[in-house]
């Protein structure tokens, strides 16, 4: 049983549930304490010990169902293990007979036991990719004596008598049943040990894919990924925002704290410097090609509301509008659609957008604000209003420009990016989710 538990923990780990050695020990103690007769109880208990959040509990429950569905047969393995170890020398006829016995009705338990043993011999728990299912299924059949069966089958085929034909047909059926059962078992092992690995691989690919090339059917995956990134960033940046400065005495608070002891400073209180809370204003160009990126930037930022309490989003193509209300009241996809529909029309004008911002929202900028601009800086040869932009940059903490266009294209055609660049603390090319994560990470790091 201990082996079962440790394999189960391995499965959990491969599915991204972090289980420490201490917890593994606890799991073993738990099972020892409650026994493994009551499956529901065991599931609850292991979830309690091994999972550490709601999402981990879901993964746990799913894997538990998959994994322990083979548990009864698994525990019978040891008892059946010693019965016929002399396999290699076994006569083909005997082997074939033994296997066909197994596949007969009523012998399901024995078959399951044999399959479990074969799985062990074939090292099935190392399965990682779905393409390996067939390979492992074959190895399992071989471990059960498939070769002998094959030899016997060939012999029967050469017999050319009605009896031999019937025998051959029977053996073919036996082989098919065995292969099917082995395949099912391998498929399940893949679900337990490999599926998470494959998912991880796909996630990695998606994170480094150009955001404009993300297809509709990958959207769900991207959303989960963005949520993961957002969580990672939020955890990293929601650290304590106070820092004790030793050496600078806070006289007023020290005196107050020690009033009860005659003003003798037992408790010394140091001045604390409060760190700024992140305050972010995002201005997004929602025209044409940039719109694809806006969706991810906004999704990322709004999933981090916890870490960035002061977040305002504006969108423009010709006129600029605040989109906070839309994003907060509507479901995200619908909100984005609405924004693109209402604001995404019209020829892009950065100058007009900046002057709209100046007129209506300028008071939102203070020295703690980071302004993030997402756009390609293609302004249809209009006035870029550098004067306004310089003014914003001067009042804000920093201005970060994220450009979905490659650096080589900057300044070509109607792109006025190089003229804005001197006022930006940073201007970077953003093509993938990884780039976005890096950019936001840098923005938030400036506050810690």
């Amino acid at each position: 049983m201990e082996k079962q538990i440790s394999n189960f923990i391995r499965a959990l780990r491969s599915a991204d549930v972090r289980v420490s050695t201490g917890e593994a020990l606890d799991a073993a103690r738990t099972v020892a304490m409650i026994g493994y007769d009551d499956r529901a109880l065991m599931k609850d208990s292991l979830a309690c010990v091994l999972a550490k959040s709601e999402s981990e509990k879901q993964i746990h429950d799913r894997l538990f169902e998959l994994y322990f569905s083979s548990a009864p047969a698994g525990s019978a393995v040891q008892s059946a293990g010693t019965e016929n170890d002399g396999e290699p020398t076994e006569d083909p006829k005997d082997a074939a007979e033994r296997l066909s016995q197994l596949t007969q009705q009523g012998n399901e338990q024995a078959l399951a036991t044999a399959i479990e043993r074969a799985a062990e011999q074939a090292g099935l728990n190392d399965i990682r990719f779905s393409t390996q299912v067939a390979y492992f299924a074959q190895s399992m059949v071989r471990a059960m004596g498939g070769e002998q069966l094959q030899a016997r089958l060939l012999e029967a085929l050469q017999g050319r008598t009605p009896d031999a034909d019937a025998e051959a047909q029977r053996l073919i059926d036996v082989r098919r049943t065995l292969t099917m059962t082995a395949r099912e078992r391998a498929e399940r092992a893949f679900q337990i040990f490999g599926a998470a690995e494959t998912e991880k691989f796909r996630d990695e690919v998606a994170a480094t894919k150009r955001l404009s090339a993300i297809e509709a059917n990958d959207m769900a995956r991207m959303k989960q990924l963005v949520a993961k990134v957002a969580k990672r960033l939020a955890v990293k940046h929601s650290r304590r925002r106070k820092r004790t400065q030793r050496g600078l005495l806070d006289v007023r608070r020290t005196m107050r704290a020690n009033a009860g002891v005659d003003g003798i400073p037992f408790n010394v209180i140091w001045r604390q410097k409060k760190k700024d809370r992140p305050k972010i204003i995002v201005i997004c160009d929602v025209s044409g090609s940039v719109a694809l990126y806006v969706r991810f930037l906004l999704l990322l930022l709004f999933s981090m509301k916890e870490a960035i309490p002061d977040l305002h989003a504006f969108a423009f193509s010709y006129r600029l509008k605040s989109v906070d209300d839309i994003l907060e009241t509507m479901e995200f996809d619908a909100a984005i659609k609405k924004i693109l529909r209402e604001i995404g029309l019209g020829s892009t004008s950065y100058g007009q957008a900046f002057s709209d911002f100046k007129m209506e929202h300028e008071n939102k900028i203070d020295r703690r604000t980071t302004i993030i601009i997402l756009g390609d800086g293609r302004s249809n040869y209009g006035d870029p209003r550098l004067d306004l932009f310089r003014d914003f940059a001067g009042r804000a903490k920093r201005v970060i420009w994220l450009n979905p266009e490659g650096r080589a294209l900057w300044g070509t055609g109607d792109s006025v990016i190089p003229r804005y660049e001197p006022f930006c603390a940073q201007m970077s090319h953003v093509a993938t989710l990884k780039d976005l994560e890096k950019a936001i990470d840098e923005v938030l790091t400036a506050y810690s």
Binding site: R18, S20, G22, E23, D26, R29, T30, M33, I34, A40, L41, D44, S45, A47, C48, V49, A51, K52, S53, E54, E56, K57, K231, A234, V235, S238, R239, R240, G260, V261, D262, I264, F266, N267, E306
Partner: protein, 330 residues
């Protein structure tokens, strides 16, 4: 495992015993909750309870202490909570007072000393006197360690505390001991049963999570909610109980900011009882909805559908659950 005869954990012999025991003090447990408590006792690990506000996270600790007849020691966390308030503090005032009183005595004692060196060595003998358990003010954590029969230690809303405090809790939670530099390590004879609650205001550190059993308490299902309300509200009729629980359950399914939890259901049941309502009707619901929903926008969102929801809640029970089918808990 604390098999010692003196401990107060004896009744926790099995999961069923825990469920039954909690039942006697009016806490309607489910198997997940009882299992977690049983394992916490067996593995000597704290339980970290997460879940929406008002589903009985804090109440579990209170009920356990009531059932086991052990002291409930509660530590409410908040931003800026530090060791001095959570663990121990020196009784500075008392120390000061004692020095004042003993001043003359000290003179006498030190008077015999010829040299400065002599008086210093004599003085250093007193230091231990002043930094002794006598002058130690035990705060909740230390207090919990000092209970002879064990105790239920509730660390409420741990997510509201600073990260530094979380790190500092690790010693207490994994070894059930407290280190006071001047005295040494104080180890609990009988480890307390520790329950931490979190509303997920911030993500807790991995180190803390690893030391705890994880338990998530969600909103109760129809049956359990009925039993809870019945246990908490005296004299409520079966019809009203059934109807109001069904109404609350359907409110929870709507898209609102703050979904009503058990605490609100109980409050609402009391309100309706006070108003002598025998069945749910639309006017009553409209008048008392502010007990159930705490946001103006939520009330506005639910209002248009109240008529329909009341009709559904008072109509024939589609799920075939009838309140009268349950034993009277009151």
């Amino acid at each position: 495992m604390a098999k010692d005869k003196k401990t107060g954990y004896e009744p926790m012999t099995s999961i069923e015993a825990i469920t039954a025991g909690l039942d006697t003090v009016g806490y309607i447990s489910i198997s997940q909750i009882s299992t977690a408590v049983f394992l916490a006792h067996g593995l000597r690990k704290p339980i970290l309870i997460e879940g929406p506000a008002g589903v009985g996270k804090t109440d579990l600790a209170a009920s356990l202490s009531k059932w086991l007849n052990l002291p409930l020691i509660r530590l409410q966390c908040y931003e800026g909570l530090d060791e001095g308030k959570a663990l121990y503090e020196w009784k500075y005032g008392k120390q000061l007072l004692y020095t004042q009183i003993l001043k003359e005595k000290l003179n006498e004692l030190l008077g015999g000393a010829e040299t400065l060196k002599d008086s210093l060595s004599k003085l250093s003998g007193f230091e231990d006197l002043f930094f002794s358990p006598q002058f130690l003010e035990a705060r909740p954590l230390l207090h919990a360690m000092q209970q002879d029969r064990g105790s239920v230690l509730l660390i409420d809303e741990i997510d509201k505390s600073d990260e530094a405090f979380e790190a500092f809790l690790l010693e207490v939670l994994s070894d059930y001991q407290v280190t006071v530099p001047e005295i040494g390590t104080i180890k609990a004879n009988v480890p307390p049963l520790v329950i931490l609650t979190s509303n997920n205001v911030r993500e807790l550190g991995d180190a803390l999570k690893r030391r705890c059993l994880h338990l998530h308490i969600g909103f109760p299902d129809h049956e359990r909610e009925q039993r809870i309300v019945r246990a908490r509200v005296d004299g409520i009729s079966d019809t009203l109980l059934n109807q109001l629980v069904r109404f609350v359950q359907s409110v929870r399914e709507t898209d609102i900011k703050k979904r009503p939890s058990i605490a609100e259901t109980v409050d609402w049941a009391r309100t309706l009882l006070l108003l002598h309502a025998s069945t749910l009707d639309e006017a009553f619901v409209r008048d008392t909805l502010n007990v159930l929903l705490k946001h103006e926008s939520d009330i506005a969102a639910v209002s248009p559908a109240i008529g329909k929801m009341v009709r559904e809640a008072t109509g024939p029970d589609a799920r075939g659950r009838l309140a009268s089918g349950y034993p009277d808990m009151g």
